[in-house]
Symmetry: C2
Subunit: 623 residues, 2 copies
């Protein structure tokens, strides 16, 4: 049976790091573990009910003939939500068995399988009266996108359960796609999908089955794009080939599923023209258009990346799926060579711009994740276009798979949270690792290593440590560890060796690059991997937009067990600008009236879980 | 012959101020007069060529049968550009005779007249194959909008030339509209236009002809809106009645043509529920959503007003037509009662967010007028949707009509620039006024009054004077004049009396209200009515986004005769933040590296007339 790994680089010739299965990492912490549990008890069941209530599963029943006399419901891409939910269920089953999830998931898979056409085609929108229109509009109609999610779900389900029912369906559809689309010289139809997704899926199917044709198909889809096959628009990244792109452009989720798929292709083929492009684009993205929350895609128009340094806060689009796509791309880049910058970005996105999607009750979602708001933006139980909800469920369920990697004789530790895990080195030695820590609330991490003999342990020292991290082995003299790097411990390990890592987490004021005009004169507060924000609840009677945090005000941290599931707060003595003057523009005069305001910041991910009110990440530092 | 007034409140029972004809004000200054002259020699002729080249005039020839075998060209609302050009020509002819403009304008009017249908209908899009679709989609298809511009052009042309050819066409079409649209109880079809414009036009036609039915028609269109007749969307201001609106909403030009038309209706009917709503909306607009340039409409999506205090700079939409609509509304509100705040806003918009539309060569236009840009935004010689070019030509030509008003025994002076004018009091006494000044570059104004007997002179003291204005009569002791008010001189005048007005114009730093997050930590420079900006040309080697203007840096003013048609510049010793660090976010540390930068600001209206480069109105004041 295949290992339950999220992205299987175990045999990828051009990836240095090997994956650790989701079920090899048992989270035991008080931050992520309760969220995974709520995923099982609330998020996944409520999403199944939503899929039923909105006709998404009936669409399959209609297509198979099990239900007749009903119309197609909703958007033409709604199948993909069901597939993503199935994938999320699969990863959840890898964490622990749950009979209800297993049964409902199996039942849905039965409906999916029944809807497949004799030739392998499967898309419930293009049935009956629309059968003739299949494949006629790749640009807009998401057929290959939906197919990609079917394939990813099938691969995940097979890796976790060993079953082949959904995999057989996906493979037959994949075969049909490979027969149909490709170079004209091979007698095939040229074409790419308006929304990338099939690329990652085909590579993963190739990894699972060992069949190279799926990898070639993914390569074809990457190479054929940017040549005007679907209109040549930047929105679809069809205006120029990937290898010529200088900046992430257009629809953010499409863009980042594209680069994720290209990274998968590179890991297998070693095509350096792809890797060079990906590194160039990642650098541009991280240095020019990424929100401090790890959110991606500034513009509402086209759910798209903005220009360099265009990072509006209140009007930030920052779709949840784009944040998740950022995590997916970073993970794939990290596996290529273990470059720590990718893990830093992944962690930032995960704890902030991605996690903010989900309410504390596990049943409400943000589609957009703005960095300032007037209180009108609230999480919803579902969306007509419901890509984000099953996407966050999928990430939470597969989270354990992002904690560790291996390479030859090295264990890589990417993320911190209490867990008990087992990883295997290349020589098949099993190493147990126990993490004891209250991360992300505290930076002390105790790792107990259960393994004998010589191997390397690489511990990620987050870039946010800023030079203050230290570590020790078995209580011996502590030594400094450079930030934004993997600290390497090479030794002959004995069972029960203890590594102590100290990642100090003072609250910090962050400044933006001078070119980010929207953040001029403002700071954001962070602590460890978390970005903080001000919310109305703690500042009744003051408008957050007028709050000033003087540069010399001391920042204090306090744990609040009863609040928002347990959080650390940052407090400071701030000021409130006079906002009683109604005029929009006034001459600058010395000594603008100010009053004292106690400033209280909560983690960004936790906002909008109480009464509706204003929120801001960036805070004025001027007077 | 009717007087050549822009908005004829001469007999409006509920307007206190009476208009002064465009041809009664001869501008002689070096700011506006050369622009009016260029309007005559370059702008209007080149617009006529564009209208020909793009098929806009052929559309009329096609409709009349004078040209056959050609398709309709361009957008369904293209007739309106031709009408607005005709109106601009009419006002230009009021300034001085120009044989070429008169002849081309007459020729175009002949084409327009020939295209009118036997029943009075006139819209070149809805001819032949589309005849059946007339009036079937008021929401989207702009038929009444185009009709409105025809009527406005016809009224202007008649007032200036005394001719009736176009007026007859317009009146017949207006009659058809009045027959067709109105309350169901009167056996008419209920309906309003998706784009307001017909309302102002109908009131003006009523004023010209004395026929009340056109006023009633305008009232109907105001009252019928906001009741879902065209879909109930905020974009069209159809979501709620005007009298219930709390904020300017939706498409900005539509919104402000709406309030302008409603102000016209109020001036005739005195319906206080309209006036209350207009005052409420104007206050909200001026205190919440107006750019410092007088620009209106923050959002690209829907060319629309944003939320309160949503005033992005680089992504400001601020359409030229919305700025002009702001001028139109302010003028109408000012005429009601002489409230100086409306004149202040009118002046700000005129000198900044409206004038910026036009290049110094008079043949290139901005559609959007952002307050920061990377240099990619350049004026264009024309647009597919070409509403803005003839609109700015119209404003320039009719400008003289905005300088003065009268009321009973009072002469109102709203704007300053060298001119020789004649106004008539209610008792038909003619008063000559000569303004000698270098306004807007200098705040000294010398008014020579050519009139005998007792009357009042009201001189506008702009709000930007901020308490420093003073005045004197015939060199007697000067006295202070309150800013943001009309200073009243009541005396028995003798021919040749001289009033000296001193409006000091020190350069000023302006702050935004604390709720304007985009301008936190930033100042804008103004001097007199002009808003200034930094442009790349004067700051080679420095990125404008990193420039800091310390609060204590002295601001100097220098005249540059050779530059941009002659301008005052503001200079200061500024700083440049270190922008070499590529990371987007960095911890705040004391002592960020800075270098000295000489900061040179030019008037905002003049930007983008040299090599392409970055521009910003708002400048950092932090370090």
């Amino acid at each position: 049976m295949a290992a339950a790994v999220v992205v299987d680089t175990a045999k990828s010739r051009h990836a240095r790091l090997r994956p650790v299965p989701v079920d090899a990492v048992k989270l035991t912490d008080r931050f992520w573990r309760p969220r995974q549990e709520r995923n099982r008890t609330h998020t996944l069941p409520s999403q199944q009910r939503q899929c039923e209530a909105t006709g998404r599963i009936d669409n399959f029943r209609r297509a198979s003939g099990r239900k007749s006399g009903v119309p197609f419901h909703g958007f033409f891409f709604n199948d993909s939500d069901v597939y993503k939910w199935v994938e999320a269920c699969a990863w959840q089953l890898a964490i622990e068995h749950d009979r209800e999830i297993e049964q409902t998931c199996d039942a849905v898979i039965t409906e999916i399988a029944a809807a497949q056409q004799p030739d392998g085609y499967l898309n419930t929108y293009y049935m009956f009266e629309r059968e003739k229109e299949r494949w006629t509009n790749l640009k807009d109609m998401h057929e290959l996108y939906c197919a990609g999610h079917l394939i990813q779900a099938a691969v995940a389900h097979h890796r976790v359960t060993g079953q082949t029912k959904l995999l057989d369906v996906a493979t037959r559809f994949a075969d049909l796609i490979c027969q149909r689309f490709g170079p004209k010289e091979q007698g095939k139809t040229e074409g790419v999908c308006g929304h990338q997704e099939i690329e990652m899926a085909m590579v993963e199917l190739s990894r699972l089955t060992g069949d190279e044709k799926y990898l070639q198909q993914a390569s074809y889809f990457i190479d054929a794009r940017g040549r005007g096959l679907i209109g040549g628009n930047p929105y679809h990244q069809d205006h120029k080939p990937l290898r010529e792109m200088e900046a992430v452009t257009g629809h953010a989720v499409r863009m980042l599923y594209y680069t994720s798929g290209a990274a998968d292709v590179y890991a297998e083929t070693g095509d350096d023209t792809i890797r060079t492009s990906l590194e160039r684009l990642w650098t541009q993205m991280s240095q020019r258009v990424t929100y401090i929350t790890g959110g991606q895609g500034a513009r509402w128009e086209g759910e798209a990346f903005g220009s360099d340094y265009e990072l509006p806060n209140a009007r930030a689009y920052t779709e949840t799926c784009a944040g998740i796509a950022n995590v997916m791309w970073c993970w794939r880049m990290l596996q290529l060579d273990g470059e720590p910058k990718y893990a830093d970005m992944l962690e930032t996105a995960l704890y902030n711009g991605v996690l903010s999607c989900l309410s504390l009750d596990g049943e409400h979602y943000f589609y957009q994740n703005p960095l300032a708001n007037d209180g009108g933006h609230r999480r919803q139980p579902w969306f007509e276009c419901a890509c984000c909800p099953p996407n966050i469920a999928r990430v939470l369920a597969q989270l354990g798979g992002y904690f560790y990697s291996t390479s030859d004789d090295t264990v890589w530790v990417h993320l911190y949270a209490a867990n008990q895990s087992q990883v295997k080195l290349r020589d098949r030695r099993a190493i147990g690792i126990q993490q004891e820590t209250d991360y992300p609330w505290d930076g002390e991490v105790r790792l107990t290593i259960d393994g004998d003999g010589e191997f390397k342990l690489k511990l990620r020292i987050p870039a946010w440590c800023d030079g203050d991290a230290s570590m020790s082995v078995n209580g011996e003299n502590a030594f400094k560890a450079a930030a934004g790097a993997y600290a390497t411990l090479r030794r002959r390990w004995k069972r029960g060796d203890v590594v102590r890592l100290n990642l100090p987490m003072p609250p910090r004021r962050m400044l933006s690059h001078p070119y980010v005009s929207d953040n001029a004169g403002k700071v954001a507060l962070t602590r460890g991997p978390l970005v903080f924000c001000l919310e109305h609840v703690e500042h009744a009677g003051v408008d957050l937009r007028s709050i000033v945090l003087p540069d010399d005000a001391e920042l204090s941290v306090a744990w609040r067990d009863e609040l928002l599931g347990g959080i650390s707060m940052i407090t400071a003595a701030g000021k409130g600008l006079d906002d009683a003057e109604p005029r929009l523009y006034l001459p600058l005069r010395p000594g603008t009236a100010q009053r004292d305001v106690t400033l209280t910041a909560i983690p960004y991910y936790a906002w909008a879980n109480r009464e509706a009110g204003r929120m801001t990440v960036w805070i004025r530092r001027d007077g």
